[in-house]
């Protein structure tokens, strides 16, 4: 099984020819996570491991609610808990469901050297096709959100698939289905943006002046968005304020590639023609010196 939606792949790693995209009428989809409605129950984590048949190693408690402490190759979503003081003396407990953001312009896909190991579907889902993964870890360098994790067991990269297998047959992602407070919604990107903005407005009315939608434009927007109480300071919940693909990655996987190939081929071709024009360096035949060149 290479992928479930092979006719609507709009981007494919390390591929310079058009992808199979005859079926592109599917609307862009998005998951909206409303921080203000989340109670930190971790049902989404359980649903994720259930649907995807993943069982992480039982770890150790590090003194906070985060469990496991970070994303792993077998924990594709993790609740992260933050005790913060957005203003002096006002303690707030912020909870964020961490996982792949499904960028419109995915850095992992840009960095990946293996054809078809990472694809983006027309609905916006960025998926790892693990059988094509070679375990190089370039996706880790490409990702602006530190999401991909590489398994020690099989040296392949893993992350949230946005339940591409469920979405492909008209179901919502497992975490959305299970969330008991309705903090996670799923629908078309347009609907989710509209709903997120409506929710942000409601939060503003209730005193959260800087409430807003996290849909960072530096990566072309994302197909996983957050409603945040403090959208002006996403770093409070360990998210970059204006994430972009690192300029080093853009240079490496952008202009450097064609330039370097041109330089290497150019050098070889230049050498060939130089030899043909100038001829070899060798001992001259003394007899040649006196010979006339008839033109």
């Amino acid at each position: 099984m290479a992928s479930l939606q092979s006719l609507d792949v709009v981007a494919r790693s390390a591929t310079t020819t058009p992808t199979p995209q005859v079926r592109t009428s599917a609307p862009a989809l998005a998951k909206l996570i409303d921080e203000s409605k989340c109670i930190g129950c971790k049902a989404c984590q359980v649903a994720c491991m259930n649907w995807n048949d993943l069982r992480d190693e039982v770890g150790t408690n590090i003194g906070v609610y985060d469990n496991p402490a970070d994303l792993t190759p077998t924990s594709w979503t993790v609740m992260k808990f933050f005790e913060v003081e957005p203003t002096e003396g006002s303690l707030e407990w912020l909870i964020r469901k961490d996982g792949c953001m499904h960028c419109e312009d995915p850095g992992c896909l840009k960095a990946c050297p293996s054809p078809g190991a990472i694809v983006k579907y027309s609905n916006g889902i960025v998926d790892f096709i693990s059988e094509n993964c070679i375990g190089c870890g370039y996706c880790v360098k490409g990702c602006p959100f530190d999401v991909p994790r590489i398994s020690q067991k099989d040296n392949k990269a893993y992350k949230c698939t946005l339940c591409s297998d469920r979405v492909g047959v008209g179901l919502e992602p497992a975490c959305v289905k299970t969330c008991p407070t309705g903090a996670i919604s799923f629908g078309t990107k347009d609907d989710m943006v509209a709903y997120g903005e409506k929710r942000s407005g409601e939060l503003k009315e209730r005193g959260f002046q800087n409430a807003g939608l996290y849909n960072p434009q530096g990566v072309g927007g994302t197909h996983v968005m957050y409603v945040m109480k403090h959208a002006d300071r996403p770093e409070l919940v360990d998210l970059p304020k204006d994430p972009t693909i690192s300029p080093f990655v853009s240079l490496w996987k952008g202009v450097a590639k064609p330039l370097a190939v041109a330089a290497v081929l150019g050098a070889a071709v230049a050498g060939f023609f130089h030899y043909m024009k100038v001829g070899p360096v060798e001992e001259k035949d003394p007899a040649d010196e006196d010979r006339e060149v008839v033109k």
Binding site: A14, T15, T16, P113, S114, P115, N132, I134, G135, C136, G137, Y138, V140, K141, D146, I150, Q152, N155, S246, F248, V249, L251, W252, A256, K257, P258, A260, V261, A263, V264, A267, A268, G271, H274, Y275, V278, G279, P280, V281, E282, E283
Partner: protein
């Protein structure tokens, strides 16, 4: 016309040279496979993508170790001198096929020396940055921002190395009688007189000929 031959490289050095060359060839092909999608088919030579990713660092490291032996032996002979700067000023004419005006050179001319240092520096950058994202063993010790710089530097220095090797190979083909220095260890006395007159005189003087 002299009929004498002069030894330019010992057998051990020649075998080391060809070991480095082989490892370069394999490391370059396996590395280029990851550099540009149009070259990914090179992974077929190594047993697929995973195997290419596994083998590439070992091939590169072996190349660097071989070169290190070379470096220790010949780096002094490759120090750039004033005479080399003079030679570089005339290099354009030599490329046009006019060798007559070139200042006399010793064992290595300035072009060879620059190739030597380009290879040495690019290999140094390649091995240092290569360790920084060598999965699964060494990459976990380095931060993601640092690895992003490492992969870019690795690619840039790899291109410098490949270009240096193209110049190196071309020069050996261009200047007739050169390749045998590495295939047989000896060059003709006439070749030495023509291309490395100071080295020729030095060898002859040393041997009292």
């Amino acid at each position: 016309m002299s009929k004498r031959l002069i030894q330019r490289y010992r057998d051990g050095d020649r075998m080391n040279h060809w070991f480095i060359a082989l490892m370069f060839f394999l490391a370059a092909l396996s590395g280029l496979a990851f550099f540009h999608p149009s070259l990914f088919f090179f992974t077929h030579l190594f047993g697929g993508g995973q195997w290419t990713r596994i083998l590439h660092p070992f091939l590169g490291l072996l190349m660097v170790l071989g070169f290190l032996l070379f470096f220790i032996k010949i780096w002094r002979e490759n120090l750039i001198t004033d005479a080399d700067r003079q030679w570089m000023k005339h290099a354009g004419r030599m490329l046009q096929g006019d060798k007559a005006g070139m200042p006399p050179v010793g064992k290595y001319n300035a072009g060879q020396k620059f190739v030597f240092w380009a290879m040495a520096l690019s290999l140094l950058v390649l091995v240092v940055t290569g360790f920084m994202f060598w999965r699964p063993w060494f990459a976990p010790f380095f931060s993601i921002p640092l690895m992003r710089i490492a992969v870019l530097l690795h690619a840039v220095s790899a291109v410098v190395l490949v270009l240096s090797v193209i110049v190196h190979v071309y020069a050996a083909i261009w200047v007739k009688g050169t390749v045998r220095a590495m295939t047989r260890g000896t060059v003709t006395e006439n070749w030495a007189r023509l291309n490395h007159p100071l080295w020729h005189d030095e060898v002859m003087h040393r041997k009292g000929r």
